[in-house]
Symmetry: C2
Subunit: 835 residues, 2 copies
């Protein structure tokens, strides 16, 4: 009964009843405090006039009504003609000049830009939201709403904004069956069982989020493309998705399979110079544009990670790109050709082999060979979304070819939404990095990808978003900041990280100063924190790179074909990429940059081990040795995450209960994982280097009792692979229906916290019960779903039992009851005084 | 993913993550603020010793562990023997004297009482929780936990409490199919499809709530009893429920059908003097006690509202009661014989007829004829849970018969959980009312029902609880205060309403002073408020008493056979119950009380119309006329509820989001219903009396536009029955698939709130859409479930659209789209300036 009442009431009285699921992200339009709301109510006209009838302009109107209703609890009056009273006038410059010349200023607006103005005419004060395009009108409306939500004055508006570059897109690696490659927020919002989802309301919700940031295009299927996407039968599905996004000014694009002419086109080849293949692409483009006239274009991943490409038929990337681009050209479509091309079967024994070289090696000689509607889509770094990479040299190499930068919003190597990592500071480092590509001017990556340095006609930024059906979109409310930050940077890369996160926090969690301070300082430090415990000094994310890209596996990047090794041995660590002594990668940069990276002395500490193999005793600029820095940074990282969780806990009551609990759970989980990384990496390098930690922390864990040393009944001891996945390299698991491990406490009497480190794999739901001298003190079921079926660092989980009164001689019994193929694994317990 | 994380975390870290569903009611054990928690951690021993192994004592131990874990985040150490360190020792006095004589004081504990003591012995300080019975031990444990939750000192405990009377029971009117007669919190926690529910965890949760109040017995099926409850096949179901309640010291009892010997016993009669019938009851009792040795006893409703009773076979209530009581006697069982016996086919034209007389008329002459284990179960008032009744005269009449008072916790005539009505102040008025039953002493009802006045061996209080499966138990979090208050009063009727509600509020919603002040003042005034708009001056609840007992229907109590009329005519109102001029009911009281009620001059204003028929112009003690008081109280009542909702809204962020939203929804709904009552009752009496309201409010509703006066397309105008269910006595409903009503606004320009008064019946989900000049401003679906299928006062609902900018001439269009048998009815709209 109450539930029904609440549903009714949510419609009836917006104030105070907002359910904070995360779905509205930064567009919550939460009610403003009364005094603030009153100020805006006085400043805002009561009438909104929409001059155009186009879908994005109508969206602008409904968004304005929605926002004002939410924030100010007022329903504006919609009109189609200029009244004699104050009004908010929404339209393109051309429409305004025709309908109300007295409201139009001289001047113009470029691209998708907008112009907010307060105009006084005949004693009547109006607010004009103008764009050159429909999109610009919509973006201006979102900008006005954002100003109100942030408490900025709207009294005397005179604000004109133009986007930095025309291409501001997001990509999705969503498969037609509804799964998502590298997606961590649930199933696809677009696809289900090979078709567009019946209910596309989440796509529309998503379009709204994108429009609020000025994002104007999106690819809607995986770059590892299913050839079916180009079949005629599938076209109605694309039409449906495009229809859902069109009101938000977001064009759709498709990822295509280069083999399509053969696999679904009925031809015997996909050779881009073959007349049949040329006709195939032309006819296919014509067919699709008949159904979706405003399609953005195509995206292609070729000759990489098993995808077919021009090399199979002896052609170049330019041949491949141009045949498709020419088919799109008459329709205004663009073609993104991914620069992520590399050989994953390299011999690691050849000291010249280096995956980092691949992009530049592949495309340098083709510069100038691409048609004008082709864009080389280049990842920020030369490897693949690692926690720390230099900017890709290819940004500085291409002069006569369009390019876009590809950033990853989804956190593939960045904790996959289970860890909070705010990526804007990382992106900023790359975007602001001066590639020294043209003498006499600064040539930061942002300018290069926008085409500003070499006068290219277009360019911009693409983010791999991979949102899902979870109400949080990313599986973590904090991760929404990455989409927000990407969009804001794509619009204006000169914004600071601080400014972006401040906006995001206040829009997402409200204005409480303690909340703003806690969240912004956490987010701003989160990338460095994550780097600290997962791979500092340019080591890369020391994760399972041939597996789930999530858990700790230091050697996963050694002695394989993937071309990115860190070459840790007893003497030193790092991959030598200098020209003089290594792979020569450093030489792919323009000379001014190349010489910085060429020598150990000038390479920044943060990238030292990316560019150079050095002894563990190599001193950093701080005077600290490399090995000690590795130890210290891991401890510092783990401590910082623990602090995040505690800081967040202090926000209880200042944030809605639901998101408070969900973020707290996420941070506490992350704090536990950071300890696994800390212990595993530090132990690994201690074993490898034989150099002791100056603070003697490795192997000395106060109060830790290893499960393999407990008295075991039916539990079996097993070695964990890789060994750093478990404390002492061993764990226990239960091969029967129920097992017991008994630990003897030998410390002083008093209140103690007992942490149980167990393994929660994703293929079962084992139960654990903990008793002290027969008294049950905790029980739980291991139902988390991290991406592993094995007892390893990724499945390592912890359960903390706070405040247990212990006496020397007490027996702590853990019962494990396996379920499915989850074997109730245990690593250790840790007993520390209750704080 | 996050959901799983949260589940895991709830177990892992109790602090800050509590989901506030209402399920734990006042036993939330919410974490205390750190400084307070520290104080208790220092004061509490770390070890708890349980001396007994009986179920209630084991419950005491687990409850103590649970409470301390929740409030202090500490897991006490459980032991079975007294240690040499400080301990909390839990046991009966006898056990303590045997196991640890040094901890036992001289003295005894009566009944289910308890004794909390701090004892210093050999330099060790212990806390002793003792009882004479297992129950007492359990109650003492709850008392200690309550002290901690309320922030009271536990440093030097010396607190002994004995219950005021031995019988502290709750009844349930739950049918074996899972429905509940007069239950408003969902389906039965006991029954489902003719059996005990498979999952009885809610029964166990409930037992815990009852035990925390000292409630020691409960009947588990409807007094309108299903004879199957006594069949041998059903017995295992009773055993299961008894097993779930036994650990909480709560005995179960059964409501029985007096016709059972014939209907299920295979006999041809149920005559209580028939040897076969005598044997039937004996054998049946023996059989049941073999399965449930601690059964509490039976409850019987006989000769009332269609239930068979002794009158059918020419026997007395005493005959009937004693035959069953004698069967129970050897097992220690008791028998509750309900005093709620009356004839519902009275002739209203006979001025001597009066249902209020029934209980006293039926039982007066049988005083002394009942066995010692029989209790006459007497409702607080002579009618039936009306909003204001005098104490039943029968309390003062019986001298040689056991009695218990029956109070109604479920809010049958009190808004059915949809309205917040805290009943403790009402119960206190009855319990403290001096019946003047014995010369030379005060004889309040509480003393009479406890047997203290006439030296009866036993007595007490019974509450009709009717909780359900809703997580709030009652469909309204605020209604939990009634169960809490009943239990506290049953334990100690000398507690004040203020003390009870203060405890409840702090335990249920926390210690925030603004929360405590808001909730307690709302609850304490809520009964008077409800009375103000539903039936002041002893008029009774002016509801549909022959129907749902919920909505407004002033004349439902006129000209029928139910014996409770208010006889409103053009001259006056009220039922004359004096001896001199009326039914003689006043004469059933002892002389000192009777003479007060006999005359208009001495009868309290609050009961004036219960006892007397007076002209509308009769002056009250305040000098105000009866008719003006009726008008004023209704306006005051409606205003007060609107204030409740506003006051509650100001608690945003001080209470968990979920309960905040649910209670706000409830109060806003109640505020809307109070207006319906206000308008309906005031209009009724204005029409009847022809006397104008001194403030000229009746019929003058600022901004109200009747639906029947709007421009209608397909909507049909219909008279509403009873007429006070709709403004202007008419509504419109939609006989086709879609209808329109258009209202023309003619006021000044500006921000306006528009209230749409529509009808939300329980047999469909109609849609409504509201537009202003074609602009959609609101839409909703009518999915509430109030107990009516008709367009009437009970289904009258409102939707408020705040902040609409209107101009004279604007057209407000309401579209109604019926669904099921809900016809999208409309009463009116009301347009007022936005505050």
């Amino acid at each position: 009964m109450l539930r029904r009442l609440v549903l009714v009431l949510v419609l009836m009285a917006p104030i105070g009843l907002r359910a904070e699921s995360g779905l509205d992200a930064w567009l919550r339009y939460a009610p403003l405090e009364e005094p603030v709301a009153r100020r805006y109510r006085d400043a805002l006209p009561a009438v909104v006039v929409t001059l155009g009838t186009e879908a994005p302009v109508q969206s602008a109107k409904s968004e304005l009504l929605r926002g004002i209703r939410g924030m100010l609890n007022r329903n504006l009056r919609a009109a189609a003609r200029i009244p004699s009273e104050p009004a908010i006038v929404i339209g393109t410059l051309a429409q305004i000049r025709q309908a109300a010349p007295q409201l139009a200023a001289a001047g113009n607006i470029e691209g998708d830009g907008f112009w907010l103005r307060t105009v006084r005419s005949n004693g009547v004060r109006s607010i004009v939201i103008a764009g050159d395009t429909d999109r610009g009108v919509l973006y201006g409306t979102f900008a006005l709403l954002r100003k109100i939500a942030l408490g900025e004055s709207i009294n005397d508006l005179e604000q004109k904004e133009m986007p930095y570059s025309p291409i501001r897109w997001v990509n999705h690696w969503e498969n037609l069956d509804g799964s998502i490659e590298r997606g961590y927020g649930g199933r696809s919002i677009f696809w289900e069982n090979g078709k567009a989802r019946e209910d596309l309301s989440r796509v529309s919700d998503y379009g709204r989020l994108l429009a609020s940031l000025g994002i104007n295009g999106t690819s809607i299927n995986n770059v590892n493309a299913d050839a079916r996407v180009l079949s005629s039968e599938f076209l109605p599905q694309i039409v449906r998705v495009a229809d859902a996004l069109r009101p938000w000014g977001v064009k759709v694009a498709l990822s295509v399979d280069f083999g399509s002419p053969r696999t679904v086109g009925g031809l015997t080849t996909f050779d881009p110079l073959d007349p049949g293949v040329i006709a195939y692409w032309k006819n296919k483009a014509d067919e699709i544009y008949r159904a979706v006239p405003d399609l953005g274009g195509f995206v292609l991943k070729a000759d990489s990670e098993g995808r077919v490409g021009p090399s199979a038929v002896g052609r170049t990337h330019a041949d491949a790109a141009n045949v498709v681009a020419r088919a799109l050209k008459p329709h205004g479509g663009v073609f993104f050709y991914r620069g992520f091309v590399y050989d994953n079967r390299m011999d690691w024994r050849n000291p010249k082999n280096d995956r980092a070289r691949a992009a530049d090696d592949n495309f340098r000689n083709l510069d100038g060979k691409f048609d004008d509607n082709v864009f080389i889509q280049i990842k920020n770094g030369p490897i693949d979304y690692q926690v720390r990479e230099p900017a890709s040299p290819l940004f500085g190499t291409l002069e006569k070819t369009n390019q876009v930068i590809e950033l990853q919003i989804t956190q593939e190597y960045m904790g996959q939404g289970r860890h909070t990592v705010f990526l804007v500071p990382m992106w900023k480092e790359v975007l602001d990095f001066d590639m020294r590509a043209r003498p006499g001017m600064t040539t930061p990556v942002k300018a290069l990808v926008a085409g500003k340095v070499f006068g290219r006609p277009s360019g911009g930024m693409i983010g791999v978003s991979n949102v899902g059906l979870d109400e949080s979109w990313f599986g973590n409310h904090m991760s929404q900041a990455n989409l927000y930050g990407f969009g804001r940077l794509a619009w204006n890369p000169d914004l600071s990280s601080k400014q972006i996160i401040d906006e995001w926090t206040r829009l997402t969690f409200g204005d409480d100063p303690k909340v703003v301070e806690t969240v912004t300082s956490m987010q701003l430090s989160s990338w460095r924190t994550y780097e600290n415990y997962t791979g500092p000094l340019g080591l890369q994310t020391l994760t399972d790179i041939t597996g789930n890209h999530y858990g700790l596996a230091v050697e996963a990047s050694e002695r394989n074909g993937w071309g990115q090794w860190h070459f840790a041995d007893e003497k030193g660590v790092g991959m030598e990429r200098s020209v003089a002594r290594g792979t020569g990668f450093a030489g792919q940069y323009r000379p001014d940059v190349a010489k910085v990276y060429e020598s150990v002395e000038t390479t920044p500490d943060d990238l030292l081990l990316f560019f150079h193999h050095v002894p563990y005793t190599q001193k950093l600029r701080s005077g600290k040795t490399v090995i000690q820095y590795i130890y210290d940074s891991h401890y510092e990282g783990a401590e910082t995450v623990a602090k995040y969780a505690n800081d967040w806990r202090a926000l209880k009551g200042r944030i809605d209960d639901r998101r408070f609990a969900e973020v707290l759970a996420q941070l506490q989980y992350q704090a536990g994982q950071a300890i696994v990384w800390r212990d595993g990496v530090a132990t690994y390098f201690f074993k490898m280097s034989g150099i002791a930690d100056a603070k003697n922390r490795i192997g000395n864990y106060p109060g830790r009792l290893e499960a393999e040393s407990a008295a075991l009944k039916d539990y079996a001891v097993r070695a964990v692979t890789p060994p750093e996945g478990a404390s002492g390299e061993k764990a226990i698991d239960c091969p029967v229906a129920r097992c017991e491990a008994t630990f003897k406490y030998s410390g002083e009497s008093g209140w103690r916290d007992v942490t149980v480190r167990y393994f929660d794999v994703n293929s079962g739901a084992a139960k654990y019960r903990v008793s002290v001298n027969g008294q049950l003190v905790a029980e739980w079921t291991a139902t988390d779903r991290v991406p592993t079926r094995r007892i390893d660092s990724a499945s390592s989980a912890r359960h903390i039992i706070e405040g247990i009164q212990l006496r020397a001689g007490d027996e702590i019994l853990i019962e494990g009851i396996p379920e499915g193929s989850e074997t109730a694994g245990l690593d250790y317990i840790e007993i520390v005084p209750t704080p």
